[in-house]
Amino acid sequence: MTAVPGIPLLEVEHLTMRFGGLVAVNDVSFTAMERQITAIIGPNGAGKTTMFNCLTGFYSPTVGRLTLHRTGGPFLLERLEAFRISQQAGVARTFQNIRLFAHMSVLENLVVAQHNKLMKASAFTVAGLLGLPSYRKAEKQAVELARYWLDKVKLTKFADWEAGNLPYGAQRRLEIARAMCTEPVLLCLDEPAAGLNPRESGDLSELLIHIREEEKIGVLLIEHDMSVVMSISDHVVVLDYGRKISDGTPAFVKTDPTVIRAYLGEEEDEELPPEVKQDLPEVAEREEAP
């Protein structure tokens, strides 16, 4: 493990999530820094998505503390109701399977994400119904922010489409844009590159770098596409069977023997019992004979 320098944004301490006898996440601790892309990788079933579900209030962890540092905070995520995690702590997330509001327009999907701001501006609907100028102004700003993100994810010309009719790659980008419209300090992306072609995942990497550099927020990224992970992350956490097995810079993790073992398995001849090893030359000979 190597320490990655930075200002802590999210501190995960001793996170454990049990489902009956199954321990999906087992005593995981790490710190994600501000303005960094922290990738969480690991084989299938390593507990990555479970961890996201703990972070966003889907599950309440069996053990552990999740602290988000921001102005007005720190916020203990495991104690907040799901909607307050977005509203107060500023954590946004996307899903492995896309969950857009399919029957709303693309633009509306992005405006819904700004619900709390608009609800306040509309004095809980009264001003909105009367069309008061203060609400109009807030709504205009909301649409502006939505348009800004549409532009960033290259969906401007689809603004009035029904979201469910967009092509797959566009839906993925829209999901990220929608998460960004909640104006989060931490963006959690669950396999954003899944199902994207190489060009699209290249665009995705660019978008994530833009989010880190220009929006100056932290990104937590679950991803299997190592070309994306290794090229853009500042910090990589590796999980296997619910445990953290490695944590550090991409360069460190790439060469960490424990990671290689988890991904590729043990080197075989270390494991072979002596009697089998004895037989090996003989077997080789026999195979060569004919």
């Binding site: 909607f83 307050r84 969950r99 509001f101 029957h103 709303m104 609800m119 609907t125």
Partner: protein, 305 residues
């Protein structure tokens, strides 16, 4: 011809009232997928509060009709909203996340409870209500003396309903609350993750539905002049039919369905038999469910596997 016009006017008036109640059914179904069987009772309570507040206002000396009407509307909307909110909070919210039938049964229980509660505190007898708005226009007159009239009250009912429906459509399509409601309708979890307070949005849906039902209650009280504790049942079932006919979950569907049910009832009682008007209404429901299960304006539900 004159007879037809008269029935058209009566049918539209009735349809407007059904439409107002049907919106409550359709909205609640849209957002949490349950039929709020207590909604008819909310309408009945709205009617009772109307009678009570007419009497109280009369006793207080406020008798100028526009002011009186305004106040009665506001009072019953406020009170029924509180009822709607409370019912959701007590009878439905604790059961959310339980199996699908649980809130439905709870709703039926709530409906029976509210009926009996009103019967106990208000008595089982019908409550008469002296006409508040009288008079109207004579539109046509037949040679044999049959008069087609459009009363001021009917105009009021139709105009008020239209205004409310336009306002309500605006609320759903344009305001942030409406947007949040539509978002919750599609994916509550995701809406929550985007910071929408899902519970509050659902509560407000009940409150809005109840307020509209209260308006229907006030109108019916003035239109028929008698109410009792049981009016909620039939009106509720009719409005529910209207919502299903129009396509449950669809707002314009509820309005259209309400209008159609009102017209069917009026014309059936006029040309066939008044005893069988309810049979006619429900026969239409059966036919719609057989040939177009999603209703006239409803979207078919496609479930992804």
């Amino acid at each position: 011809m004159e007879y037809f016009v008269q029935q058209l006017i009566n049918g539209l008036t009735l349809g407007a009232i059904y439409g107002l109640i049907a919106i409550g059914y359709t909205m609640v179904y849209g957002i949490i997928g349950m039929i709020n069987f207590a909604h008819g009772e909310i309408y009945m309570i709205g009617a009772f509060i109307a009678v009570i507040s007419f009497i109280v206002l009369g006793a207080a000396g406020i008798t100028w009709v526009p002011v009186m009407l305004m106040l009665v509307l506001i009072i019953s909307m406020v009170f029924t909203s509180i009822y709607g909110w409370t019912i959701e909070r007590l009878a439905y919210r604790p059961l959310r996340g339980s199996f699908r039938l649980a809130p439905l049964i709870s709703a039926i229980g709530m409906s029976i409870f509210l009926q009996n509660y009103v019967q106990l505190v208000q008595g089982a007898r019908v409550k008469p209500m002296p006409p508040v708005i009288q008079g109207g226009f004579v539109i046509m007159e037949r040679a044999d003396g049959f008069v087609v009239s459009l009363s001021y009250l009917q105009i009021l009912i139709i105009v008020l309903t239209t205004v409310l429906m336009v306002g309500f459509t605006g609320l759903i399509t344009r305001t942030e609350l409406g947007r949040a409601q539509r978002a919750c309708e599609q994916d509550k979890t995701m809406a929550g993750l985007l910071g929408v307070n899902v519970d509050r949005t659902i509560s407000l849906t009940f409150v809005l539905g109840a307020a509209l039902a209260a308006v229907a209650g006030v109108m019916v009280t003035m239109y028929y002049g008698v109410i009792d504790f049981f009016i909620g049942f039939l009106a509720g079932v009719k409005a529910f039919t209207a919502a299903v006919l129009g396509g449950i979950g669809s707002l314009p569907g509820a309005m259209l369905g309400g209008l159609l049910i009102g017209l069917i009832e009026a014309f059936w009682s006029a040309y066939f038999s008044i005893e069988y008007k309810d049979v006619a209404t429900f026969a239409i429901l059966v036919l719609v469910l057989i040939f177009r299960p999603t209703g006239l304006l409803g979207k078919p539900e496609i479930e992804k596997v």
